[in-house]
Amino acid sequence: MSAAHSHGDRSLFAVRAYALLGLGVVFGALYISEHVTPDFHGPFAVISAVGFLLLAGMLSAQLCEAVGLPHLTAYIGVGVLGGPLVHDGVPPTTVEQLSPVNTLALALIALAGGAELRVPMLLPQLRSLTIATVVHSLMGVALLTLTFLACSTFLPFTQHEPLRVTLGIALLWGALAISRSPSATLGIFAQLRPDGPLSRYALAFVMSSDIIVAVLTTLTVALVRPLIEPMSGIAVSDLLALGHEIFGSITLGVTLGFALALYLWLVSGQLLLVLLALGFSVTEGLRYLHFDPLLTFLTAGFVVSNLSNQGAKLLHAVEATGSLVFVVFFATAGAHLDIPLLSRLWPVALTLAAARIAITVGAHRIGSRLAKDEPVVRRWGWAPLVSQAGLTLGLSAMVERAFPSFGGGFRSLIVATVAINEVIGPILFKLALDRSGETGRGTTAHAAAEPAVSSAAAPAE
């Protein structure tokens, strides 16, 4: 072993030992304070919860690197361990109070996602993306619907329903099950900085599928209504509302994008504060207008990146916040995971999650063969499509509102399967990027933000 190699190993060991020690201190401090003052409730619980999630998330991520797991897994794990189920350092009320932080995180994630989508990158993939979208939307939805129908006798909210109603619910399941996770994809990108055919395909497909799934779910809600509620017809109002939402979100996103580009061109300083103000205020306004924040910020990022030359500045600013944003977002998601529900529904949830992965792999292979994708995309292109997170949960809430009779049970099942996909997805995607050799090939806008362990580990690899 060379001296440099040995030194790298020692640094790596020291950094991970520090992380382990730090994690012990963080958990210990929170544990002692909670057990000394068990009756404390108040706004300061939110402050310590954010601090805990941030610190413990970052430290766990360093430890997870040792076993090759992605940072997102560590963040989710910290949320689960610190959440109401295990440690109760972040009680349910606190998790709810963290929603403004998540709102902001989602806005920044969408903005970064849009900025990453560049036309020169998308154009060569247009054929591949179109074929993949069609195959996943048709074959994926059909097979996932059939899987749900097969499992329906084991589900409390479908077992006594007539086939017509169960079919309607199964179609809703199929539409929702093909949703992906833009935030998980970008979270992995923030950690690994990949570049190559697989990462470009993943980025383009996952981001564009956000719009497709939103449209598909709304269409399905409108179309299955006569099956589930025979007295009602197809709700044209739902389609109009969807059109209003999509058109409005894109229009506002374009305006916001131009405004941001102008700011970046004229001033460009204090961008973090500007993004904070935009994240809060625009999301609040969008909620009032019933527009989709994800689509709006995605469009804004896309406009800045493609219709101005300020994209790099925007990406750099968003990336600078990335390490903090992703930790809090996914750790909160982990704290939000309903583990007792998962323990009740796990056999069905696991079956459905496994079937979803298998169908995703199959649909991807077929689509990829038809599109004549590069071998690396053919082989690993399904991996980024496994993760599910906030988008799926948001759409399931919409279904719950549309069909209150079974919506609660349906949403619980979605939450349970998302929990599985949320944990497995990032691991599979990281594995795919590592195996395809694309990890670390991208631009490192914030290379300095990576822990020294990365550089220390390099000689050993």
Partner: protein, 405 residues
């Protein structure tokens, strides 16, 4: 104005704070303590224009506490440094003694006024005495900057002012933890003495600071430490408040330990200092909005006594120090007035009291701290002009004996 609008206003203020104020250039802020932002908050607040209703301002209380705790961390990391120059023991002893003496004199006057004139209970009189004494005993770091930014060559007297400013804040910030320790303890499952609570504050800060230093050392650059520092600061603030410890003291101690224990300390100090104005100005604006001037005649006497004794104490101490450093006779009295400049620490200590003791006691402490800030700005600027600007062709910079390394 609802909470979202107030948040946006605070972000805008923070934006201008960061954009217009380069750390170390007090000229842009015009007044050493930033009192104008407190006054702006007061004018916008429920007692004048009512643009910011009291419930909206109160809902930002945790955010305000997190912000001022962060500022305390910033102060802690640069504690004992005049620029890049690390101060030696004599400077610390001098700063500590001057601040302690000032605090004692002000506290005695306040206690007397509160107990005998205003007819407050012994406990309330003690609380006011401690609070106002601690909030009035420091000299703002911006005072020396204010002079330097006007192109004045550093002199021995200016060096003295700078050293006092960077060493005396330990008294209010540590004193605050004594005060929190003396206050009624939280409902806990274990019994801890007053001294125990004080030590626990220091221990929590030290553990967080040293742990952060250890963790930051694992990063290749100090910029990467943001997540660790922010996480530790928020965790420390939350736990301190939960245990009824002083978050300001906890984070100040954390900052000092981080500075002492981190190999990146030299990079961290300017990095953290850059966040100061962006956090301070919204905190000052909120302070103004939360401000309730003493409505009771007795409380006015208390504030009056505090202000008068503070000015007298600072002027006399300043004159004595100027004489001890063999300053020119015509500079000695003005230097005393220059030492009246108080700043963010005073306001933050006052705000911390007001948040921890909502009601008349907290109001009197906060409003007196603000009055001291405004008056200190006026008198301090006059004093600094007389001491330094009127003699700008004076002596060259000469470090005080055995105070600089």
């Amino acid at each position: 104005m609802d909470e979202m609008t107030l948040l946006l206003v605070l972000l805008v203020v923070s934006y201008f704070g960061n954009a217009l104020i380069v750390p170390g250039q007090a000229a842009a802020i015009s007044l050493p303590s930033g009192s104008q932002f407190i006054l702006l908050g007061f004018v916008l607040g429920p007692h004048v224009l009512g643009v910011v209703p009291s419930d909206a301002a109160a809902s930002f209380m945790p955010l305000a506490m997190a912000a001022i705790s962060w500022l305390s961390l910033v102060l802690g990391t640069s504690y004992g440094y005049a620029g890049d120059r690390r101060l030696l023991a004599p400077a610390f002893v001098r700063g500590f003694s001057v601040a302690l003496l000032s605090a004692a004199l002000i506290a005695a006057a306040v206690f007397a006024a509160a107990y005998w004139v205003a007819g407050a209970s012994v406990r309330d009189a003690q609380l006011m005495a401690l609070g106002i004494g601690l909030a009035g005993c420091e000299t703002t770091r911006q005072s020396a900057r204010w002079v330097l930014d006007r192109g004045i060559a550093p002199t021995r007297l200016l060096t003295l002012l700078e050293e006092l400013a960077v060493t005396d804040e330990v008294v209010p910030l540590l004193g605050l933890s004594c005060f929190f320790a003396l206050a009624p303890p939280p409902v806990t499952l274990v019994s801890i003495s007053h001294g125990g609570w004080f030590l626990l504050t220091l221990l929590l800060g030290a553990v967080l600071g040293l742990t952060s230093a250890l963790l930051v050392s694992g990063f290749s650059a100090a910029e990467a430490a943001w997540g660790v520092l922010l996480g530790a600061a928020l965790l420390g603030t939350g736990i301190a408040w939960r245990l009824s410890l002083s978050p300001l003291t906890t984070l100040f101690v954390m900052g000092v330990c981080l500075s002492l224990g981190s190999r990146h300390a030299a990079e961290l100090r300017p990095l953290l200092a850059r966040t100061g104005p962006g956090v301070l100005l919204p905190a000052l604006l909120l302070t103004g909005a939360l401000l309730r001037l003493p409505y009771d005649e007795g409380h006015l006497y208390v504030s009056f006594a505090a202000v008068v004794v503070r000015i007298a104490a600072r002027v006399l101490l300043g004159r004595g120090l100027a004489q001890a450093t063999r300053a020119e006779p015509q500079q000695r009295w003005p230097f005393g007035f220059a030492m009246c400049c108080t700043g963010s620490v005073s306001v933050l200590v006052g705000l911390s009291f007001a948040l921890y003791f909502p009601g008349p006691v907290g109001d009197v402490v906060l409003s007196t701290a603000v009055i001291n800030g405004v008056l200190g700005d006026v008198l301090g600027i006059i004093g600094m002009r007389q001491t330094f600007l009127a003699r700008s062709g004076g002596e060259a910079r000469e470090p005080l004996a055995a105070s600089a390394s």
